[in-house]
Subunit: 163 residues, 4 copies
């Protein structure tokens, strides 16, 4: 059972992802699990399935928040599945329940999660994907990182993200 | 990791509950865990905390869906916590993600969960609490049961609820 | 444009309703509109369509909160339509945004709205339908009324509900 | 009462906005109202209040979707207010219920709405603000426009957005 101090880290990325993004996601999932974090994801394929596989292969716990109302649509590596029935509003639920977020790869859905997390003042590490321009009036920024190790350090603390 | 066939059973009841209701909830939670079900609850005190304690003491998994956006408000026996930030709309989320529901004790919040589950056509076992009158135009009804064992049989199948 | 003091009153009831319930709903809608209230409903047929027709025929404003994501599914008498895409969670949204609720007729969906409104401490007038038993530990109760006029007085103030 | 063919156009932008953004929002709101569209906004200050003022000054209808559960927090120019209690998840509700979106100014909240609308395949006109890089794997793009007239033409059809 997770203690109150267990960090919950969301890993976001598209459901259709290339092999290199899926590999990055698997490594991020495994590293997060080894650091004792619960991995939160959207529960479907691509980056979501890869981070779940990585985390559970390292003995970790993965919470999947599905857009639909059928739990059976979830990736088999999820530890616990929530069939939200909220459609893309589940992206906001994922942001609300996590402490920080790692984004891997592009896509509008991923961008919505990055933006909502920044809006909520939560740390966001971008491993590969969105290079956002300066936002007028916003001081909180995503951290661009180059490796899974740097991504995990960035969201769990003690790291120096790339400038 | 839970297989796709793992049943998710919600246990609902008030956050302020008497000792006998908490005892029933603990026994329901333990029985569900022994049958391999994931227990879903609202994540706070009273019936919610008691079913979580029962389930985890039997080695089970408990998913807590909190109304607020602070995971730290969750009962310490929860395995995985979702801080929904949805307020009482999280009652609907709990119904969406479960296969069936056990209600223990009264209260308007519990009644809303019973009604939403019946609306969704999911089995509802009422162990102690709401005795609902006939609903015009509704054929789907809650099952009144007398013991934790009957409640669990009613939602996991193979049981004969009390007439 | 509605002033901040404009009351928002939800009218709830089944989408499949008999002629007498639809007639009651139409009269409640018209009376609410004449009193300057915005009528909030679930936006579909039966009691929902009837209260919308009554309110707009009296020059009032009706806000419809649909479960689906297609605005075109809304009853044509709605003034403003929100396609929530939330499924039955939109029942909770309806309760959150209203000041009080009138329930006409039975059905589990209606009961969920009654329960959520009582949970939120908002006045509920039951014109025909759910006769709820005493709820242990709950002092806030629905008001049973016998006519549309009494229902509107009960939720807009100054009325004596039937004992 | 709005017909089924009435377009619903969301106007998004930060609650703290400069005078030039507020002026653009007012003009967009007025133009949308003259074209018969219902304006949907987040219901608070800055760009949201300015587009509401513009639309109602032109005789239009404005639907405000507030993040909190207090209708009284809404801008006084709103025609109809929904107090969602959903926090930033109301950004997703705004996207679900609109046909197209005009973004004015930066900010992470605005970006989340732009991304969710693009994700849903709805037209997005960016009048001033986010210049998004190419998204890998996404063909649907926001339309960059230079004037309120171009923004309204872009979302209501018949327009040639700037290249």
């Amino acid at each position: 059972m997770s203690s109150r101090a267990t960090p919950y880290i969301a890993v976001c990325g598209p459901g259709h992802a290339g092999a290199s993004e899926r590999d990055l996601a698997r490594r991020v999932g495994a590293l997060l699990a080894r650091r004792g974090a619960v991995v939160v994801c959207g529960g479907l394929g691509g980056v979501m399935a890869a981070c779940a596989e990585g985390a559970t292969s390292a003995g970790g716990t993965v919470l999947g928040l599905l857009p639909g109302d059928d739990r059976g649509a979830g990736d088999p590596h999820l530890t616990v599945v929530v069939a939200t029935g909220l459609g893309e509003l589940r992206n906001g639920l994922l942001v609300t329940t996590c402490d920080a977020l790692v984004a891997i790869g592009g896509g509008w859905g991923t961008l919505s999660e990055v933006a909502l997390a920044l809006r909520a003042g939560k740390p966001v590490a971008v491993l590969r994907g969105w290079e956002l321009p300066e936002a007028a009036g916003e001081t909180h920024r995503p951290l661009r990182v180059g490796t899974p190790e740097q991504a995990v350090e960035a969201v769990l603390g003690g790291a120096e993200p790339l400038p």
